[in-house]
Symmetry: C2
Subunit: 744 residues, 2 copies
C-alpha cells in the first residue's frame, strides 16, 4: 500500500532505474571482489609451489583450466544462452526479434557465475560486453516484479526500458559512467532515443555511486578515484609535432582492429566447419575450452615463456604499468630506477623492453582472438584495451628512443611521455575493434586525466576510418557467425542506399491467402512457403491487403479443421445416421422422416446405401477418411477468431532503400508489404534488405547495384526521381487502383 | 576531374565532414579573435578615461550599447532569422518543417557578425547555442557546392547531413569536442542515428584540431590545452561525506534552472503582450536592446555597483577565477594571499566574499534571463555556466567556513576545495536550464580535470530531476514562445502515452477531395479548410485513400482552370464563332456547315443568336464572365500533372500515442491519415498529438486523459488491449472494408 503510494508519487520509471542502478552496482562490486579473489588464488598457488618447477607449472595451468572448465560446464548445464558476449544478442533483441531464454533468471545466474570464473582464470577475457547483457537481464527481471507489472505488460514500454537498461551495462563495470553509457549505446543501437540516454545516465550514476560507496565501506580504496590513475604532467602533455606519431598509431590500430575481427571470425568459422571435430566438441563440449585454456596458460606461465611477455601480470596490473608516466628506456637500454610495483617484469636480461612489449602485444593479440571462441561468457573489450596500451607504449618507447632529447617547443624542451601513447593506443585499438568513438571518453575516465583528449580523438577517428572500411565490428562479426537475424550497419560511403528503391529489391511473387480461400489452398501455401506470416487479401482479383496472419495461426486453423474432435464428431454423426437407417429398415418407412420418403427409386438406393453403410463401417474406413478429409479441405476457411496483424507500415515501390532501412531499424520490423493504393504488389523482408545493403557495399571493389538503380542514376535528374506525375488521367469510373502514381 | 576522382575514391561524406570541420574550426577561431578584441576594447576605453568618473561611465556604457545596437541593427537589416539562439529553429527544421531563410548565406553572415558584436559588448550572452545554428548553416551551404550537389538534391541524405552538422556545433566552440557533440545531440534531437553521431565526432575532431593549430600558429597558446584549466589535487579531490553538499547544490541548481526558464519566458511574453510597447518596438526596433543593454552595462560598471559583483570581469575571466583551487576565506574573512590574476576583484573592503559571490550570482541570473530576450543572436549556455560556477563557489566557500578543519577521512584530513563546488555547480545549473546531462562531460573537458566526475554526475542528475518536472528546457520554452511547430518532449513519468490510442485523439471529420470532384468542390474545400494538404480519395463511397495533394497544387489547378489564358482562349473562340456567324449571315447559308443547316426554327434562333452575340460583345460581358466561370467550375477536376503525395505511414485506430509520437518524431511527419483497410477514417496532425501529450502530462496535477483511455486502463488486460479478433466473419462477397479488425 505504502509502496504503491510512493511509486505513484515519484513515478515508476525513476524507482525502476534507481533499483536497477543499485542492483548493477551491487552485482558489479560483488563480481569485482570474486574475480580478484580468484586471480589472487592463482598467484598464491604459483607462489606456494615455487620449490618444484614442474609442479609450479601444473598448478598454474591446472588452476586456469579448472576454472575455465567449471565456467564452460556451468554455462552448458544451467543456461547455454549465457555464453558469449551478449551484445550481439541484445542488438538482435532490441531490433524486435525474440530470442528465447536470453532474459531469464537462469541465464542471469549462469552469466554472473560463469563470467566470474572465466575471468578469474587469467585468460585474456573482459567483462564489459557481458555486462551489457547482465544489465539487460537485471532490467528484464526487475520488470517482472509485481510492482513493475505495468511496464512488463506493455510491449513498447518494456522494450524502451530494456533499451535504457542496456545503456547502463558498461558504465557500471569500468567506473567510467559517461563513456560506458556512450559505449553501450554505440555498440547496441542504430537509432537511439535521447530519453533512454537520460535514463541510462541516471541509472549509471546511481550504480557508480553505490559501487564506490561499497568500495569505501570495505576499505578497498580510501575514497572515490579513477581505476587506472595516470600522473602525466598537465601543463604540457604532448606537442603538436607529435601528432603524426599519434596519427600513425591510430592507423596501425585500425589495421590491427580489422585483423583481430578477421582472425577471430576465421577461427570461429574454422571450428564450426570441422565436422568431425565439431561432433567431438559437441559430445564432449569441454574439450575445446580445455585445449584453448591449456595452450594460453602454458604460454603465459611466468617462469616459462611468460617471462618474456609479462605473463605474470593480470590485465589490470599490466594496464597500470603500461600507463606509467616515466620512460622505460634511455638510449635503448632499460633505465635503472625504482619501478612502481610490477613494472619491473617488463625488463628482462635477455630481451630489451621493445622485445617484451612487442611479444606482449603480438602474443596477447592472437590469444585473445582465440580465447573469445570458447563457450564461456566473455568480453573482448578489456583485453583489446590492454593490447592497445601495449602497442601504444611500444610506439611511445620508440619515439623516446628516436627523440631522446624530447621535443623542442618554442624556448622549452619537453620529453616524450610513452604512457600518453599507451593511453592513445588503448583508445584506438579498442575503438577499432568495436567500431566506436566513445572509447576515448572511457579511457580518459579510466585514467582520470583528460590531457590526451585531442591525440586520442584523432587516433580513434583514424582507427575507425581504417577498421570500418575493412571489417565489420566484432559484435556484428559475431552476429554473422551466429547467423542471428540482424540488419548490417550502413557504412560510411554508401550513397547507393539513397538511389536504390524498394521496387528494385522487393519480392514480387508473394504467397498470399484470400478471405475466400479453401483449407486446401491454405495447406498448399503452408507446404510451399516457409514464411512466418502470410498476407491476407480481400480477393485474388482486387489484391487489396487486409493484414497478415501468422503461420502458427494458420496451422492451428488447419489442424482444427482436421482435428480428432471433428473426426469423432463426424463418425458419431455417421453412426447416428447409420443407426437411423438401420432402424428405418427394421421399422417400415413411415412419414416422419421426409428425407427417406422421396420415391421408389430413391428408396431402393436407400436400402442399397444402408447396406453400403454397413460395409463402410468395417471395410472402407480408410477410403472414407480420405474422402472426409478431401471434403473438409474443400471447405472455405473460417477466419473467425483468427488474429490478423495489421500492415501498419506499407512501403511504396519508390521508397528509397535508405528510408526502408530506417523504418525497419526504428520500428524493429521483420518484413513489410509493398502496396500500390491498397493493392499488394510485393514484400520486402530483412533478408532482401540485408542482401541489398551488402550488395551495394563497394568495399570489395565490386558494386552490385540493381540495374534499375544505375539506370535512374544516369538518366534522370533527382527531382524527377522524387516526383512522379499522374501521367494519364483516367476517367474516374475506371478502376482506380492502377491509375495514379505516387510521389516518394 | 581530379577532384571528382578524389571524391569517388575517399567518399563524399568524409570530404564533406572534413571540410565542415575545417570551416567550423576557422569560423570559431576567427570569432574568438574578434570577440576578444572587442572585449579588450571596452577595457581599454575604461582604462583611458579613468580621469573622469562620468566620462568613464559614459564610455563603458556607450561601448556596450553601441555594439548591441550595431548587432541588433545588422541582424534586422541583413537577416532577421539570425536573431535568437537557433537551437529551437534547428529542432524544428530537423523535424522536417521547412523554415524559410534559416539556412541561407545571408543568415550565415548576419549570424556570425552580429554574434561577434553582441558578445563583444560584454552582455551576459553565450555563443554555444548559436554555433549549433552556424554549424548547420555551414553544412547547408557546403551542400550547395557543385561537388556535393548529390547530397543537396537527395532530401533524406541532405537531412542526415544537416543532423550530423548540427552535432558539430557546440564542440567547435568550447574546445570540448566530446561534450559538445553530446550536448548538441541532446538539445536538438529526440531520436538520433548512431551514424550521425560518428560523423559529428569526426568533424568535431577535425575542427578542434584545426582550431588548436591556428591558436598555436598565432602564438596565443604554446600548445594544446584545456580552456579553463583547474589545478585541484588529484589524489583526494573530495570525500564521500561531502556528497550531501553536492546533492544539495544539484537540487538548488534544479530549482534555479527552472526559475531561469520561467523568468525568461515571463519577460518574453510580457514584452510580446504589451501592444503599445510592441508597436513602438516594432517601429523602432532598436529601442528595446538599447534599454536592456543600458541597464545591464550600467549595473556592471566596475567603478559603480559593478565593484560589488566583479562587474569588471568578462565571463571567461570570471570563470577562471571561480575555478581557483584555493579557499578564498578563512574563518569568514578574506584570505590575504597572492591572487592569481583577476581573483582580487572578488574581495571588497565593505562586502565579504560571500556577499560578492551572492550578488554576482543573483544579479547575473536575472540579467542573463533579460539579455536573451534582445533581438540579437545569443546563447544562454555560457552565462548560465558562469552563474552556476558562482553558485557552486558560494556553496563551497560556505562549506569551507563551516568545516575550516576540512573533512576527516580515515587517518588523514583533507581541506574543502571550493573550486570543485564551482565545477559541480556550473555543470548542474547549465544542465538544469538545457535539460541535458552532457554538461558534465563539457565541464570536465573545459577544466581539463576529471576528478569531480561523480559529484558532478550526481548534481546534474538531481538538477535535471527537479528542473524537468517543473519547466520545459530553455529551448523548448523558446519554441513555445515563438509558436514553432514542434512536438513537446515526452516527460519522465508519462505512462498515459502507452494507453492512449489514435482513435482517442484523431479528427474524424476529415476534409477530402475525390477523383471525381468538380472544381467547385475544390473551391469550397479550399475556402472551408486551412489544411496544407488534402487527402485524395477514390470516391466518397469507397473512401479508399489514394494519397494527399498539397494546397498549393490544388490552388494552381483552380487558378489554371480560371486563368486569363483560358479566358482569352474562350473569348477568341467566341469571337471566331461570332465572326463565322456574321459571315454566314452576309453569305447566305450553304450546305458546307451542317450545324447551321438544321431547320427553319433553328435558323431563326441562329439569327437571334447572332444578334445576341453582338449584344454580348458589348453589353453583357459581366454576365458572360460569371456564366463562363460557373461552367468552368462545374467541370470535373483534371488531376493530370498534379503531384500526389503517397500516404507512406497509415496509422490504425488502435496505434498507441507512444508509437504515434515515435513515428512522427522519427520520420518528421506533419500529419498522418488513419485508415481501416484502405478506407480513410481520420487524420492526426502534430496539433492533436501536441494536445494529447500536453493533456496527458500530470505536471499541473490535472490529468486530461481521454475517457476511452481510462476505461481501457481499468477494464481490459493489456493483452486484450493489444489484440482484437475478427469477431464475425463476413462472407467474402460482402464489402470488405468494414469487416476485419486489426491487432495493434
Amino acid at each position: 500500500m505504502c509502496s504503491v503510494f510512493l511509486i505513484s508519487l515519484i513515478g515508476e520509471d525513476w524507482i525502476f532505474f534507481f533499483l536497477l542502478g543499485i542492483l548493477m552496482g551491487l552485482t558489479s562490486w560483488a563480481m569485482e571482489l570474486g574475480i580478484n579473489m580468484l586471480l589472487k588464488g592463482q598467484k598464491w598457488v604459483y607462489g606456494r609451489l615455487d620449490s618444484n618447477g614442474f609442479l609450479q607449472y601444473l598448478g598454474w595451468v591446472g588452476y586456469s583450466v579448472a576454472l575455465i572448465v567449471f565456467s564452460a560446464g556451468f554455462t552448458q548445464i544451467v543456461s547455454p544462452q549465457a555464453a558469449g558476449s551478449g551484445i550481439s544478442e541484445m542488438k538482435t533483441i532490441l531490433r524486435g526479434v525474440l530470442l528465447k531464454e536470453y532474459l531469464t533468471f537462469r541465464t542471469f545466474v549462469a552469466k554472473v557465475i560463469s563470467l566470474a570464473f572465466a575471468l578469474g582464470s587469467g585468460m585474456p577475457l573482459g567483462k564489459e560486453a557481458p555486462f551489457v547483457h547482465i544489465a539487460s537481464l537485471c532490467g528484464a527481471l526487475l520488470c517482472k516484479l509485481p510492482v513493475f507489472r505495468g511496464i512488463y505488460e506493455n510491449e513498447s514500454r518494456y522494450r524502451e526500458m530494456l533499451a535504457a537498461a542496456c545503456a547502463v551495462g558498461v558504465g557500471c563495470v569500468l567506473a567510467a559512467p559517461v563513456g560506458g553509457v556512450l559505449f553501450s549505446i554505440e555498440v547496441t543501437f542504430t537509432f537511439f532515443a535521447v530519453r533512454s540516454y537520460w535514463r541510462g545516465f541516471f541509472s549509471v550514476t546511481i550504480a557508480a555511486f553505490f559501487f564506490r560507496v561499497l568500495a569505501v565501506w570495505y576499505k578497498d580504496e580510501e575514497t572515490v578515484t579513477a581505476l587506472f590513475r595516470t600522473h602525466f604532467q598537465v601543463d604540457f602533455p604532448f606537442d603538436l609535432k607529435e601528432m603524426p606519431a599519434f596519427a600513425l598509431l591510430g592507423i596501425i590500430s585500425g589495421f590491427g582492429g580489422a585483423l583481430f575481427v578477421y582472425l577471430n571470425r576465421r577461427i570461429a568459422l574454422f571450428i564450426k566447419k570441422q565436422k568431425l571435430f565439431n561432433t567431438f566438441l559437441m559430445k564432449k563440449c569441454l574439450v575445446y575450452p580445455v585445449m584453448v585454456s591449456f595452450l594460453i596458460s602454458s604460454l603465459l606461465f611466468p617462469s616459462g615463456f611468460g617471462q618474456f611477455m609479462a605473463g605474470e601480470l593480470t590485465q589490470n596490473e599490466a594496464l597500470v604499468t603500461l600507463l606509467d608516466n616515466r620512460t622505460w628506456t634511455k638510449d635503448g637500454i632499460a633505465e635503472e630506477f625504482d619501478y612502481i610495483g610490477n613494472a619491473r617484469v617488463w625488463m628482462h636480461p635477455q630481451v630489451t623492453v621493445f622485445g617484451t612489449l612487442a611479444l606482449f602485444t603480438i602474443m596477447r593479440f592472437w590469444m585473445c582472438a582465440l580465447a573469445i571462441t570458447m563457450p564461456v561468457p566473455y568480453g573482448a573489450f578489456m583485453p583489446v584495451l590492454v593490447i592497445g596500451a601495449g602497442l601504444g607504449r611500444l610506439v611511445g618507447e620508440c619515439m623516446a628512443y628516436w627523440f631522446p632529447e624530447g621535443i623542442h617547443a618554442g624556448h622549452a624542451i619537453y620529453p616524450i611521455v610513452p604512457g600518453g601513447y599507451a593511453v592513445v593506443g588503448a583508445a584506438a585499438l579498442s575503438g577499432a575493434v568495436s567500431h566506436s568513438f566513445s572509447t576515448v571518453v572511457m579511457v580518459l575516465e579510466l585514467t582520470g586525466q583528460i590531457s590526451h583528449l585531442l591525440p586520442a580523438l584523432i587516433a580513434v577517428v583514424l582507427a575507425n576510418l581504417v577498421a570500418q572500411s575493412l571489417q565489420p565490428s566484432i559484435y556484428d562479426s559475431i552476429i554473422k557467425i551466429k547467423k542471428l537475424p540482424y540488419l548490417p550497419e550502413l557504412g560510411w560511403g554508401q550513397h547507393e542506399v539513397y538511389n536504390i528503391r524498394v521496387e528494385d529489391i522487393m519480392v514480387r511473387d508473394v504467397q498470399y491467402i484470400t478471405l475466400s480461400c479453401s483449407y486446401r489452398d491454405l495447406l498448399n501455401i503452408l507446404m510451399k512457403s516457409r514464411l512466418k506470416a502470410l498476407p491476407l487479401l480481400k480477393s485474388a482479383e482486387s489484391m487489396i491487403l487486409l493484414g497478415s496472419i501468422e503461420r502458427t495461426q494458420l496451422q492451428s486453423l488447419l489442424s482444427q479443421q482436421l482435428s480428432c474432435a471433428r473426426r469423432l464428431q463426424c463418425i458419431k454423426e455417421r453412426g447416428a445416421e447409420a443407426k437411423k437407417l438401420l432402424s428405418t429398415e427394421s421399422n417400415p418407412p413411415s412419414n416422419n422422416n421426409s428425407s427417406l420418403q422421396t420415391g421408389p427409386e430413391e428408396g431402393h438406393i436407400q436400402v442399397r446405401g444402408h447396406r453400403r453403410t454397413h460395409a463402410l463401417s468395417f471395410t472402407l474406413v480408410d477410403l472414407q477418411i480420405t474422402d472426409w478429409e478431401a471434403r473438409q479441405l474443400d471447405e472455405r476457411v473460417n477466419f473467425n477468431n483468427c488474429k490478423i496483424n495489421p500492415a501498419l507500415i506499407q512501403l511504396l515501390e519508390c521508397t528509397s532503400l535508405h528510408k526502408t532501412y530506417t523504418i525497419f531499424s526504428l520500428l524493429g520490423l521483420d518484413h513489410a508489404y509493398v502496396t500500390r493504393i491498397g493493392r499488394l504488389i510485393g514484400v520486402v523482408s530483412i533478408k532482401e534488405l540485408r542482401k541489398a545493403i551488402d550488395g551495394s557495399m563497394t568495399l570489395k571493389g565490386v558494386k552490385v547495384a540493381p540495374p534499375m538503380a544505375t539506370f535512374r542514376n544516369s538518366s534522370l535528374s533527382s527531382s524527377q526521381n522524387e516526383t512522379t506525375y499522374l501521367q494519364a488521367v483516367r476517367p474516374p469510373e475506371e478502376h482506380v487502383t492502377d491509375a495514379p502514381k505516387h510521389v516518394c
